[in-house]
Symmetry: C2
Subunit: 309 residues, 2 copies
């Protein structure tokens, strides 16, 4: 994979996570990490992020082993962003126990020429002001996807909406879509965000899959039925990696490509949650990924027959 | 429609319902009513139920206008079953304010010859003991679908499980599937019920659609995006009516038929909730129903492309 068509701007972090299925301490985490391991199965990825001097060289090597370009990974004096959280039995909801922004607190992404010209861009969950800064530096990307979180929706709703208007596809989970739109029902929530100027919205619904809505299109994918849930951390970023990854790989952004991209997103999210850290995204084989996308296709496909002659 | 291939045993009631969108007093309700109006678009239906002497003749005429056979609708001295309930803004959850079983409290379905030989059967939400009584009277039905509710799961879990083992497809909503299986995740909940001896399970997930799981099959349908929700009462029975209705109409019970049946169920449920009482199930046109099934097909269909060459 020599072409590096995808740019991600987000966090590279050290996570400590506890779930009902186990725990992990100071493992590789962060939105840009999950995204790039996921997308790397489909296309070349460049990361723009920042780490501290304590960032282990082994982690760096794991990215490089997957062909991920780290020329935009700044190393700054200080410690790497750390997150500590746990999930309750119902899962889906992380309780943040501690956030140490560290070097991330003063991060202002500066894009080099090879970043500015990437056709596919993922603006991971960072301050919407930073997302806008990145956007203003891009040459003329083909497709930009953004993520966000309740933290920013509560604090900077106008900026979050501004990002939605400037990107091609905005990713939100159920709670975020409801909080930002004021609508309970998710198809309506997505519709309300379109009314507010978003071009297209993907609502991630956990075990219920995901829905894509734009002015002209409305389609859904189920989730891959769980084989072995270990840690939901990074599911959304891995989803984004599969979604953008497939678009970059097939080189199209038409309705058909977007529909399969949604299934690729769901497939990658299902892999991510099977282990702590992005472990399964590293070890996943092409045939495993293909089999999951095929499974999603089998779960929804039916031959439409005329109901009434 | 001269053939009456479908039998439903359940309640015919008078409902008083309040939702955030309006209210209705003493309108036609009951599981057998919603089911039969829904299924009547696809095939002939016979009702076995009981009403009191106060049951309005106009309601009887509405059934007959849709070709629904009422020869099994007993009229007994006393009052018709009455239910009074309301829905909160989140919907999905009905609060029962009052239940007057009336003539329904001593109901023991007795099937005539023309009922015993119906190939398709819906055992609506009644006491599982009564469901088993009905089953023991059937000749050799091709496909039996059962419904239940939390009330019976809490009081007679063993009988509910026994019904599950004796029917072909058991319908449950999310809460019922979780309560009966002890599993939170719905694909797992369905799997646990299969382990306990159910042949196939449909879990109705409200705005998230429905999933079908048997030993060999797992597939889903989304819900029809809401156009105008008025009253969720009867959504599940209307779903069952579309599901069994299509199977009776096409005369098949293979995987392909079951998949389209699931979409027909979702289409009919979406019509039912657009008005109080089964009003929309009466007025729905064939083209409206077909259009909703096609919409569900468009929402999930994609051309599977090879991910990696």
């Amino acid at each position: 994979m020599s072409r590096h068509d995808i740019l991600v701007v987000g966090s590279v972090a050290l996570d400590s996570v506890r779930t009902p299925f186990g725990e992990a301490k100071d493992v590789l985490g962060g939105s840009a990490s999950y995204f790039s391991f996921s997308a790397s199965h489909f296309s070349g990825v460049r990361i723009v992020a920042v780490v501290g001097e304590d960032f282990p060289v082994e982690h760096r090597q794991r990215f490089e082993a997957r062909g991920i370009d780290l020329s935009g990974l700044e190393t700054t004096a200080g410690k790497t962003f750390r997150w500590r959280g746990e999930y309750d039995i119902e899962l889906g909801h992380a309780h943040t126990l501690e956030t140490q922004l560290n070097v991330f607190s003063t991060f202002h992404p500066k894009l080099a020429a090879e970043h500015r010209t990437c056709p596919f861009v993922f603006l991971a969950n960072i301050d919407p002001e930073l997302q806008l800064e990145v956007l203003s530096q891009m040459a003329s990307p083909r497709l930009v996807v953004s993520d966000t979180m309740n933290y920013w929706i509560a604090r900077k709703p106008d900026r979050v909406i501004e990002v939605l208007r400037r990107v091609d596809v905005a990713l939100l989970n159920e709670e975020e879509a409801r909080a930002l739109s004021g609508e309970v029902q998710l198809v309506r929530a997505a519709g309300s965000l379109i009314e507010q100027g978003a071009r297209a919205v993907i609502v991630k619904k956990g075990e219920h899959g995901a829905l894509f809505r734009s002015r002209d299109e409305l389609f859904v994918t189920p989730a891959v039925p769980l084989s072995g849930l270990s840690d939901p951390t990074g599911a959304g970023d891995s989803f984004a990696g599969g979604f953008l990854g497939w678009l970059a790989r097939c080189g199209r952004t038409d309705g058909g490509a977007l529909r399969q991209a949604l299934a690729c997103g769901a497939a990658m999210a299902s892999l991510a949650i099977e282990a702590f850290s992005p472990e399964r995204l590293v070890t996943a084989s092409r045939s495993e990924i293909s089999e999951r996308v095929s499974m999603l296709h089998r779960m929804v496909h039916f031959q439409l027959e005329t109901l009434f002659d």
